[in-house]
């Protein structure tokens, strides 16, 4: 990851030529997106921070296997992030079973987890969604991945992805109400 800060604006130039971008450039460009995705998935900024670091570490090791022809760097990184997050969920689940009481209660958190300046009802409504529903919102709405890319990240069909998104947004609407100005 040496020299990451040196390049931040010329990422699209080599990509347009079909060349493989440098990992440092990709990391600088996609860090916020991956972090947001993990925040949505876990509902926990601290955990998302650790998982994002782990994701980029893993991605750095696997960078040779990245094929730009098979998908965008964002999609590839989100797939790695999802794997890392699922391992975290497993560990949390085991920990939860081991310790009888679950220390972290996501529902009681008051800080803005999903975005600065987001209204409290939306925050609360997002918190009430399942991680699977939140991640599809993150991928399609926040990260603006297209349908096939999001489906590939989630490992489901495009139709299932679309259905899950509709259901999640409908739940949000029901809980938030009309958010029009």
């Amino acid at each position: 990851m040496k020299g990451v800060n040196a390049v931040s604006t010329s990422i699209d130039a080599p990509r347009a030529l079909g060349a493989r971008p440098a990992f440092a450039d990709v990391a600088a460009e996609q860090l916020d997106a991956v972090y947001r995705y993990l925040v949505y998935l876990t509902g926990d900024r601290a955990a998302a921070e650790d998982l994002a670091a782990e994701t980029f570490e893993k991605a750095f090791r696997m960078w040779r296997r990245f094929d730009p022809r098979r998908g965008s760097p964002r999609t590839w990184l989100c797939r790695i992030a999802r794997t890392v997050a699922i391992d975290w969920f497993r560990a949390e689940s085991r920990r939860k079973r081991r310790e009888e009481t679950y220390a972290r209660d996501l529902g009681d958190q008051t800080e803005d987890a999903f975005g600065d300046g987001m209204s409290a009802p939306i925050e609360q409504a997002l918190r009430e969604l399942s991680p699977a529903e939140r991640e599809v919102v993150a991928l399609r709405v926040v990260l603006e991945l297209d349908g096939p890319s999001a489906a590939r990240v989630l490992g489901i069909s495009q139709t299932a992805c679309s259905t899950r998104l509709s259901r999640a947004l409908q739940k949000l609407e029901e809980r938030v109400g009309d958010v029009r100005e």
């Binding site: 916020d32 994002a52 980029f56 750095f60 969920f89 300046g117 991680p131 609407e173 958010v179």
Partner: protein
């Protein structure tokens, strides 16, 4: 929420792309999407520092090829290796000096030694220049033993007239020695030349004399004699016959007993019938053994052609190399096929285990993320 508020997937995609909403429901959905997208969330500086900090110098990563690509490399490499090995085998096996000119067969004769025991004496293949093979004496065999002799002779005669005379003479020789001609096939095609195939049956005692006289009908090209000892088979059959006769006598005596229960009597009668049938079979087989031991089979080929025995195929160095390489490749393919047959059940089990594990992990993931 009314039915009109339900947004189809196509309109949903349009709203995600930023198209203008058409209905009230779409307006609400678009507003929600806008709120979700408007909320800023940047990675904290601590994370940015961790991820984007200069990485420590590390040794160059060892070469790692993706597994899918590895298959595309390994399979052609293995095929190339197999073909290369076959070519090397072909080069080594082709040799430098082909010499086989013609093949003659002479009887396997142990000079002066007695030939005993069972077995067939195979031909001795002699590679060498084409010249007439002399008539060799028959193997010396123990005269007291029962043996089956089978001989085949190839004799060349001058022309079709001689061929006709030799065929008639061969039949007379067989008859005069107490035997007979089982079949005679005589061919004289228009193209010239001719061939006669004779299957003769000669008493074992006269077979030596018959072979000597038949070989004298022309120029002996090749001869092959096999002697099979039948004494052991004869002894075994005789012992079985004696045993069966004793058994039949015992059963007949038992059946005469007045105190024998009816059920037992029926069983003994069935057994007696089986023993009698087995005895008949053994007697028939022994008769065949004796007949084979007392009559020899002689196959005689009389021909006007120069070379009765086809000469060995002449292949060039490249031809022999290719032939050897193809043979080696076939052997490799056989080995691979056997290996696949052995390994495929394990591969199938591994595939099933992998699939089950994958399904279990997916189910686990769904459960974790649905909570």
């Amino acid at each position: 929420m009314s039915a009109s508020d339900v947004i189809g997937s196509e309109r949903m995609e349009a709203l995600l792309r930023g198209d203008a909403p058409r209905t009230t429901g779409e307006e609400r959905r678009a507003a929600l999407l806008g709120r979700l997208r408007a909320a800023q969330l940047r990675a904290p500086e601590t994370l940015r520092a961790r991820v984007l900090a200069p990485a420590p110098e590390r040794r160059p990563a060892r070469f790692r090829m993706p597994s899918r690509r590895l298959v595309f490399v390994l399979v052609p490499a293995a095929a190339a290796l197999a073909v290369g090995a076959a070519l090397v085998h072909g080069l080594v096996g082709s040799g430098g000096h082909p010499v086989v000119l013609r093949t003659y067969q002479t009887p396997a004769v142990s000079s002066g030694g007695a030939v005993t025991g069972s077995g067939v004496y195979g031909p001795v293949v002699v590679h060498g220049a084409a010249k007439a093979a002399p008539f060799a004496p028959l193997p010396t065999v123990g005269s007291t033993r029962l043996q089956h002799t089978a001989a085949s002779l190839e004799v060349r005669v001058a022309d079709t007239d001689k061929l006709s005379q030799a065929t008639t003479a061969a039949t007379r020789i067989a008859t005069s020695l107490g035997g007979y001609a089982q079949s005679v096939v005589y061919r004289t095609p228009q193209a010239g030349g001719g061939t006669a195939f004779l299957e003769l049956r000669i008493p074992a005692a006269n077979v030596k004399q018959a072979l000597a006289r038949l070989a004298a009908l022309g120029t002996l090209v090749s001869q092959q004699v096999s002697v099979q000892d039948l004494q052991h088979a004869f002894a075994v059959q005789s012992a079985q016959i004696a045993q069966l006769r004793r058994s039949i006598a015992a059963l007949q005596q038992a059946l005469q007993s007045p105190s024998l229960p009816d059920a037992q009597k029926v069983l003994l009668q069935i057994r007696l019938a089986e023993q009698k049938r087995a005895l008949a079979q053994r007697l028939h087989a022994r008769t065949g053994t004796v007949a084979a031991g007392t009559t020899s089979r002689v196959s005689l080929v009389l021909s006007t052609k120069k070379s009765v025995v086809p000469a060995a195929t002449h292949r060039g160095r490249i031809g022999r190399m290719v032939h050897s390489a193809v043979g080696f490749l076939a052997l490799e393919a056989t080995v691979v096929l056997y290996a696949l047959i052995v390994v495929s059940p394990f591969l199938l089990l591994a595939g099933i285990a992998w699939g089950l594990n994958r399904a279990r992990r997916r189910r686990d993931e769904r459960r974790l993320l649905a909570a």
